[in-house]
Amino acid sequence: MPFNQLTHRITDQDIIDSLLKEGNDGKTGEELLFRQYIYFTDQAVNKYRFNDDEAFNIYADSILVAIDMIRKRSFEGRSSLKTWLHQIFHNKCVDLLRKKTSNKNSVHRVSSIPDRLLQMADTAKTIIQEMIDKTDKDLLLQKLQEVGENCRKILMQWADGFSDKEIAASLAYKTADVVKTTRLRCLEKLKQLYKANKTN
């Protein structure tokens, strides 16, 4: 179905109502929201000169944040969904632009373990690499789902290279310090969950 036809029929309330439903209806709401303002990605390409992948990542992240906030009832409807989402999207564009310009980090490029291990001396590196290889990733992924939605979101943003300050802005935490404390607690909690299963 052409996107413009779809977008003219769907109201903000339709999307919100759908997102607040459980199961497949909730998933439909997610897709509706994604489709509704997908043209924001054109702005990322045209205005900010991002490539298609970057535009997609930024928009998808904005949608994920928006979905999370709508489900937490953090969206109060004081502005339209479009205005509100655009603000999230714009902030993410600016964040990425700033990072690309200052070349300080490689946000939105999944930071691989080999990259991080490059910093390490050979002996320690070998030990860590062997331990990583033995890690039960499926179990870790399973525990990530169990650690709680807030933790999961924070950890995903952190893994994507966002600073605590940026995560605070993105996920509506009061300060970067709150994010840091929460994030470290989440890591600790996840570690305990993982270890508990491994010993069992």
Binding site: E31, F34, Y39, A121, R185
Partner: protein, 245 residues
Amino acid sequence: MDNLEYIESYFKGDLSAQDKIKFEQKIVEEKDFAEEVSFYLSIRKVSAEELSAERERFREIYQQYKVNNEVIPKQPVLLRKMWQWAAAAAVLAGLIFGWYAWLRPVDPAALADKYIDDNFQELSVTMSSRLDSLQTALDLYNKGKQDQSLKILESLALQDSIAAEAKKYAGIVCLQMEQYDKAINYFSQLSSYSLYSNPGKFYQALTLLKRNQPGDKQQAKLLLEQVVQNDLDGKETAQEWLKKW
């Protein structure tokens, strides 16, 4: 938690060179610590993959959008504005051209030039009682030997039987040689002949337009009006020119 902060400091590059060595030594010496480091890195990777998977469920929608609405990267604002101005200028130029082409009065001299180019590049005999001489004159003209052609035509113009035809061609040759006064004289004489087909007045007007001296255009216009009114040779062309005058 303390270990997690310590690990994070290492990977952020916040530790001094000496502390970095200590950190790596700790990995070698303490298995539990090494496990914590490996866990820190593993969870980071798994979380990144999880985020990637969350995004990916929208990928198909995005790709569909890209196919349906291929994004043409826009130019920077300044360049876009320049394009807008260029487009506006092009429209304006088009309007000016349209006005110039269709509405603006055409320079009669230009009409005369075109007529001469279209009709006088090569001449052919239409009728003659002394075909050989007239044909010779026109052949010479067609070969670019205008002087020799004119001499023959001037001599033929003295012979009554062929004078009108000779004067017509003599006027044309003079016109091409930019001897406008002589040409006007020949055409004027031609127009006084009572012929079935007499382009004298039209050619006279044509030559006046080419000479383009003060008053020539006005006189040419009067002659063209007479051509139309009297249904003389060149009437259709005269009508067309008068419309564009």
